[in-house]
């Protein structure tokens, strides 16, 4: 190969001027590369986001290693300020006065909130990231932890603070994230005083960062040092960053398996489609190259001319793709940050470089081999090769199709797939990937819905009755009379279908370090709808169900017996079943008869209620709360839709599936387009013989229909297997097994219906070139060769 010096690129530029005459091919290359680059950028951003997101956000937001709560009456400002200079303290913020209040939203109890008074979200420690709205700048304003939506308060909503004089109303003016959850909401510093219940001690938070806080031991030592520096009894509580990290890691890791699954599908698709585009363009361009060589282009010039013909559209696609990827990533990463419980996440700069650069390199690499071949061909060979000679392939298929009782255009189209088996195989693979992604997305959404329903019990337990505020019993707990009133009220409601008292306490099981969280039901609880992974729900005294973490911790299996120390007595129980409860802490469920000693008034923490069909949860809650009266601490609440992770995951799954389906459709479009160009003369002949535009459309769509049916047959089992593996991997990261029903989301009829995605992708991709072919004038098509 020679590389002459002057004006070397002149002929190359002239030779590549043909790009404008191949607009559709250039647009197809550009679009495929755009979609691939966008999905690669998004995939890399998500992978980066799922890679130790808490640690990144903790560093970026100067998270508090320890949030110390002090009784401000016992520690003065000077004493608190002095703790900033303790050995090991690297930064401190506060004191921020705080108050824990009960609030109502939409006239319903909305739980307890710890509100801190802060003048600004920024600071040397715990930089709160505002997700929406603005920081409180006046009285009566609050910023809540988290994001708006999900059925809870939104911007402009009001919360009524109960239990303090004047029942002040707070307007939600913003939402923010504290990486270590230092508070549930923030108000102006001056607001705290009127939010404190009469007689309640004046509390304040001081936020610290320490040199050594990597373990619970180090954190305990840090807290001890602060406590020693303050008057006795001044420190009333301390929250470690390690607890927040544990919770965030548990949430985020669950998303990794499906993000990785989609990223791999997307990458395979990109390689496949780009390879197909470039090879097709090379074959289609041989004749042109032959002509260029015959007028004097050197082999090197041919290689460069050819690469630039695919390179320019690819470069445009890469640039547009990286922009699209960044734009798409904004809402996705916003959701991801919510799921991970971190303030905000951005597309890392390297993702915006690696994705387009990698994709461009891939395109050029895919084109280099064929371009080099073209460069080495003699002019005569290139011209001959450009005529894409018929090889005799597909004749038997045509013969067979002619005998079928199908409309002739359909038969011609179906048989045409066999004329270029390699190209058909690539199109088939693209459809397989696209259809697999779509079927997988539907399956995963169904699996996640079942997991959500099983975890939140939103369908089976639409109403819960829990204590809010002080009761008249010992230690301000609800009194026995107040407890009895709840049970009586629930039984009296005509809408009540099921109700059961739930007691909870820690129990000891030999072999398990720490407490086992035991729940004892005061009646039939089979209706509560726990997903059964193995065994069955307990139905006899002496039987319990446990979660996966219990079995993992104890080494026991379903059917084994365990000794349980309830604190008042020791009982032997038999494990009847393993239930779905994604938690790293061991849990046990049984009746109050099986777990004696737990069913005490102090351990009664809620009543679960199932409603009769057609009964509105809202109306039921109002009726119950009306009957209980405002003096009873027990209040009914309709289940809040707390499955934010699930809705975020489902949205993400849908977005990724759509992107891959679009890329697959573009792959099909390109394949059909190349075939249309190859066969343009035949199309002219068909038209000259009387083939109508509708028949042309049918024939061209049928070119890809056969591969689409085969792709459906491959994609369906592939998606089922992928869904099962992904759901199991997600469950594994959430420390739980899964009920078989979570993966059995593809009944045959549904799978058959979803398999039509392959046909839909194929038809959608083929329709555009098919309609071009249908519209082409026969005289023009006949002249085209």
């Amino acid at each position: 190969m020679s590389w002459p010096g002057r004006n070397w690129l002149g002929p190359v530029r002239t030779a590549t001027g043909g790009i404008l005459r191949h607009k559709v091919q250039a647009v197809a290359i550009g679009l495929v590369v755009l979609v691939s680059t966008a999905s690669a950028t998004l995939g890399l951003a998500l992978l980066a986001a799922s890679n130790t997101p808490f640690q990144h956000a903790f560093g970026a937001q100067d998270g508090a290693h320890v949030t110390v709560t002090v009784n401000a009456a016992r520690a003065g400002a000077a004493e608190l300020a002095a703790t900033r200079h303790l050995g090991g303290v690297t930064a401190a913020a506060g004191p921020f006065f705080s108050s824990t209040v009960s609030a109502q939203f939409d006239d319903q109890p909305y739980g307890q909130f710890t509100l801190a008074g802060r003048g600004s979200p920024a600071g040397p420690v715990d930089d709160v990231v505002l997700n929406a709205g603005h920081w409180p700048d006046g009285p009566g304003q609050v910023v809540l932890d988290g994001s708006p939506g999900g059925g809870g308060p939104g911007l402009g909503s009001t919360l009524t603070v109960t239990g303090v004089p004047g029942t002040p109303v707070l307007t939600v003016v913003g939402f923010g994230d504290s990486i270590t959850n230092t508070a549930d909401g923030w108000v102006t510093p001056g607001e705290i005083a009127r939010l404190r219940a009469p007689g309640a001690p004046q509390s304040a938070q001081v936020l610290y960062r320490f040199t050594h806080a990597a373990s619970y031991g180090e954190v305990r030592a840090d807290v001890a040092e602060v406590s020693r520096a303050l008057p006795p009894g001044a420190v009333t509580g301390a929250a470690s960053w390690l607890a927040a990290e544990h919770q965030a890691t548990g949430n985020g890791a669950i998303m990794e398996p499906f993000v990785v699954a989609f990223a791999l599908i997307g990458l395979a698709m990109a390689v496949l489609i780009v390879g197909n585009v470039v090879s097709g363009a090379v074959v289609a361009g041989y004749q042109r190259i032959g002509v260029l060589k015959s007028v004097g282009l050197t082999p090197a010039q041919v290689v460069v001319a050819y690469l630039s013909r695919v390179g320019w559209p690819a470069l445009a696609g890469c640039l547009a793709g990286v922009v699209a990827g960044n734009v798409l990533a904004i809402p996705v990463l916003h959701n991801s940050a919510d799921a991970y419980g971190v303030g905000s996440q951005q597309v890392p700069w390297w993702a915006s470089v690696v994705a387009p650069a990698g994709m461009l390199a891939l395109v050029l690499l895919a084109g280099f081999g064929p371009a080099l071949r073209a460069g080495r061909l003699s002019a005569a060979e290139a011209i001959a090769a450009g005529r894409a000679p018929r090889t005799g392939r597909g004749y038997a298929a045509h013969r067979f199709a002619a005998r079928l009782r199908l409309p002739r255009p359909a038969g011609l189209g179906l048989a045409a797939a066999f004329a270029r088996p390699a190209r058909t195989a690539v199109a088939l693979a693209a459809i397989v990937f696209g259809a697999t992604a779509v079927i997988f997305a539907f399956g995963l959404s169904s699996s996640l819905s079942r997991a959500e329903a099983s975890q939140t019990h939103s369908a089976t337990i639409p109403v819960r009755v829990e204590p809010f505020g002080p009761g008249t019993g010992p230690g301000q707990a609800p009194s026995a009379a107040q407890d009895a009133a709840v049970a009586a009220t629930l039984r009296a409601q005509p809408g009540t279908r099921h109700e059961v008292a739930v007691y909870g306490n820690g129990v000891k099981v030999p072999g398990i370090a720490g407490n086992v969280n035991a729940q004892a039901f005061g009646g039939d609880a089979a209706w509560t709808g726990y997903g059964i992974i193995a065994g069955r729900w307990y139905d006899a005294p002496g039987e319990v169900d446990v979660n996966t973490a219990f079995l993992d911790s104890s080494g026991l299996a379903v059917g084994d017996t365990a000794t349980v120390n309830t604190g008042t007595t020791q009982v032997t129980v038999r494990v009847a079943g393993e239930v779905f409860d994604p938690d790293s802490q061991p849990r046990m469920y049984g009746s109050t008869r099986t777990l004696p000693g737990i069913a005490t008034p102090a351990n009664l923490y809620e009543y679960d209620v199932g409603l009769r069909p057609g009964v509105s949860a809202g109306a039921y809650v109002q009726a119950v709360n009306g009957a209980l009266g405002s003096r009873n601490p027990w209040q009914a609440t309709a289940q809040r839709h707390d499955g934010k992770f699930y809705s975020i995951a489902s949205g993400l799954v849908g977005l990724l599936a759509i992107m891959i389906a679009v890329a697959a459709g573009l792959g099909v479009l390109n394949t059909v387009l190349m075939t249309t160009r190859d066969r343009v003369h035949d199309l002219g002949v068909f038209k000259a013989l009387g083939m109508r535009p509708g028949q042309v459309l049918t024939m061209v769509v049928c070119w890809i229909a056969g591969p689409a049916v085969v792709a459906a047959a491959i994609a369906a089992p592939a998606a089922v297997a992928l869904n099962t593996a992904t759901v199991r991997a997600m469950a594994g990261t959430a420390h739980t097994g899964i009920p078989a029903s979570f993966t059995q989301v593809f009944p045959p009829s549904r799978l058959a219906l979803l398999s039509l995605a392959a046909v839909a992708i194929a038809v959608a991709g083929a329709l555009l070139p098919a309609s071009w072919a249908a519209r082409a004038r026969p005289a023009v098509a006949l002249r085209a060769e």
Binding site: H398, R405, R408, K687, A688, L689, G690, R692, A774, P778
Partner: protein, 229 residues
């Protein structure tokens, strides 16, 4: 204008590019039923354009084209396709057979596209293949046939729907002399049976031998029309 004309062009102009000279300019002509008309002229004179307009493969820029009693210049693409399938058979210089279909399937195709019944189409195709003398090649692929045999297949294909009009674009142009003569005789026999035929050719001998009338085109205009002896 002739009475009973199968083809009638009235003031037809065809321009491919604005500002460029027209391929056909204000052309008017008739071809009567059962007539053999030859269209001759040098390259670029508008012969193929004229053939395309008569066949409904293209549309005139202005003027009207009426074939078999039907005005076709204002038909939709589907209408034109139906028209071609039922009323026009086209024979191309380079045969334009579909390589991946057998001889029989090539011949059957226009009938199938026109919606003919399977039995009728096969009977008609068999009859034509026999008439063209290529019945024994019915299951062969075009690539295995000689040029003359391919052109016979193309003629059979053009006739399968019993068209009112047969258009032949240089039907002997890709054949040796002897084969060309044989194809010429075949076309003559078809005309003897009443088939209207329009021949586009460079070959004055072919036109003289078989055409009753020769239409000469020059720069898209009618140069002269003459009637053979």
């Amino acid at each position: 204008m002739q009475q009973g004309a199968v083809i009638r062009l009235d003031g037809v102009t065809k321009t491919y590019q604005a500002g460029a000279p027209p391929a056909l300019a204000n052309l008017s002509m008739d071809v009567a039923a059962g007539e053999v008309a030859a269209v001759m002229g040098p390259s670029g004179s508008g012969k193929s354009t004229l053939l395309n307009l008569i066949a409904g493969l293209d549309r005139p820029t202005t003027g009207t084209v009426t074939v078999a009693g039907r005005r076709i210049d204002n038909l939709s693409e589907s209408g034109l396709a139906r028209f071609r399938a039922r009323h026009v058979g086209i024979i191309f210089q380079f045969f334009n057979l579909l390589d991946d279909l057998t001889v029989l399937d090539n011949v059957l195709l226009p009938a199938q596209l026109a919606g003919a019944s399977r039995r009728t189409a096969r009977a008609r195709a068999g009859e034509l293949l026999e008439r063209m003398g290529i019945e024994r090649h019915r299951d062969d692929y075009p690539a295995r046939l000689s040029g003359g045999q391919r052109q016979r297949v193309a003629i059979a294909r053009a006739l399968v729907n019993s068209p009112d009009l047969l258009l032949a674009d240089e039907p002997t142009g890709a054949l040796d002399t002897a084969t060309g003569l044989a194809i010429g005789r075949l076309l003559q026999q078809l005309n003897a049976g009443g088939q209207t035929l329009v021949l586009v050719t460079h070959d004055p001998a072919l036109a003289e031998r078989y055409a009753a009338r020769t239409v000469r085109l020059l720069d898209g205009r009618l140069a002269a029309a003459e009637v053979a002896a």
